[in-house]
Assembly symmetry: C2
Amino acid sequence: MSALEFQVVAEDGAARLGRLQTSRGAIDTPAFMPVGTAATVKAMTPDAVATTGAQVILANTYHLMLRPGAERVAKLGGLHTFMNWPGPILTDSGGFQVMSLAQLRKITESGVVFQSHVDGSRHELTPERSMEIQHLLGADITMAFDECTPFPADKDEVARSMHLSMRWAERSKSAYRERPGHGLFGIVQGGVHTDLRTESAAALTGLGFDGYAVGGLAVGEGQEAMFRVLDRTVPLLPGPRPRYLMGVGKPDDLLGAVARGIDMFDCVLPTRSGRTSQAFTRGGAINLRNARHAGDPRPLDAECACPACTGYGRAYLHHLVRTGEILASILLTWHNLHYYQDLMRDMRGAIAEGTFAAFADGFATRQADGDIEIN
Amino acid sequence: MSALEFQVVAEDGAARLGRLQTSRGAIDTPAFMPVGTAATVKAMTPDAVATTGAQVILANTYHLMLRPGAERVAKLGGLHTFMNWPGPILTDSGGFQVMSLAQLRKITESGVVFQSHVDGSRHELTPERSMEIQHLLGADITMAFDECTPFPADKDEVARSMHLSMRWAERSKSAYRERPGHGLFGIVQGGVHTDLRTESAAALTGLGFDGYAVGGLAVGEGQEAMFRVLDRTVPLLPGPRPRYLMGVGKPDDLLGAVARGIDMFDCVLPTRSGRTSQAFTRGGAINLRNARHAGDPRPLDAECACPACTGYGRAYLHHLVRTGEILASILLTWHNLHYYQDLMRDMRGAIAEGTFAAFADGFATRQADGDIEIN
């Protein structure tokens, strides 16, 4: 087995149907990865996550290095054993969250020194330590260590940050230990500046990675700017390798990104929304806290096969939300993840049939029945 | 089908192995009923509850009459459909919780007027309204409406309260609508006073019920006093009818009560403990928050077949507790309910084999490895 086999099975415009083969199983792309920040996809058992159709999950290096600690996870058999998820796991590098969550950060050429948001303890992340942590966790897909560029920022600052991330990408690659069925992804940076994105993509493809991520988007630049960056950046990434848009997004973000050639996504939106009474449906997003659902016997989404939709009416889910029951979080998270996986499956089907553009158009027109905008 | 068929299959001393046949399925006794207060066994899907071996659950009239309202539940198809639990449901009468939770209570011969603890709205519960609510919910086993006697209280006060409950029991029976496979249970009151208990049992057996509950215990009188009441009260209850000890209890409470002829139990202890990091094990109770579990790869209980024990080590459960993850509540509740159902199953097996006393002795000696007392 090569480092990480990837086969593009079909193409429809720029959209790709693919299959990524890891040592822990195959990932059909376009793929959505549920987020399991602290070694748990919140409010879900791993079995439940698998029933939604998810084939790979994401875990966060920053959270796990602080609690319970990478060395402890390794001693307990690695992340897959620890959290009882036998499938592939992608770990982020810690770069994004050390900037968004940690305190008293000091960035140098070497890396980032910071204080834990949990207990104030002092830690350091460098490209080398990030690789070591991801190895200790047992990641199937490892992300290069990068700096999270603030948004908005002067172009000079974005350039400086991107150049640092490219030097860290090179150090990440040197520190990464290759194993069959495992891979290391580089991360294209450069903010909304397409010339910087071009420079970053060239630097990474020059180094050579098993996959390429587009980072630093969905940070406030808006969907139009994000799509403009993808329009210019994705064509610069090697066709035979998987492309991953980090931290994205809403259903129409996914549709637009797949249309531009993205293969992989992760986002907390379906899980976080599920814990705040919000549900994605084929008719649009709804908030179950709304009193209009109190007497409604209909399922959340009549076309969905998840336990929330096959077992309960909206009135019951409303009741669970109003009474603050944990089962509200369980069922709505389950549904939202199921919805996202159905969306990916339907996109894959449309690409296979060469009808992706029509599918994306039809999706948008069906969203009219929602009562909220999920952000 | 008679109102509620009950067969005593075997006896071992005063302990009984039995089977209670409802229109929604059989209940093997001694049985433990998980508590589904607000139409959900907290942190569990109904499927998960069923996997623990539970054959019947309890739901609370007081909570459901306030939210979402009995008429609303009836309009939505009844409690079984509403909460997606196809098995038998026992509903309490609201009498206990209106006294422990509601505000500004006024008790008259007619019933109790009170303000909701949720929104301050005014409500009334009478024997007739309690029966109506339990019918609207669709209870398989309905409890007579009674007054919850305060503890401690003067004997005169206990007697007054018990006499009121007996008059309410008669009105409950008059208002109860008999249906095949459904039943109405009377509730023996009288506090720790065995002469009052005797009088109450005589009043109820004179009226005739489908089953007999012992109420007003586990309210602070202590296990010794509780067992003394059972020693004197249970023999007064009709042998061919099921006997239910309400709101009890800890594992050794269940063992002692089964030894005295009790057939059914309910208690929030396994579910509430599961949400507060406490787990019952065959070696005793432990608190997963304790730092000594942080690096322990062993399962909670090596003899348990629940998902928490077969999928995870104590170190992972400790991690979930420390990070405040919902999955901690899910897995520990699942385990605790599984533990309780295993205990009931093992008690039934011991009664069938005529070895109940030895089983109870052996149980006590194995509890030495616990690190906490769960109350």
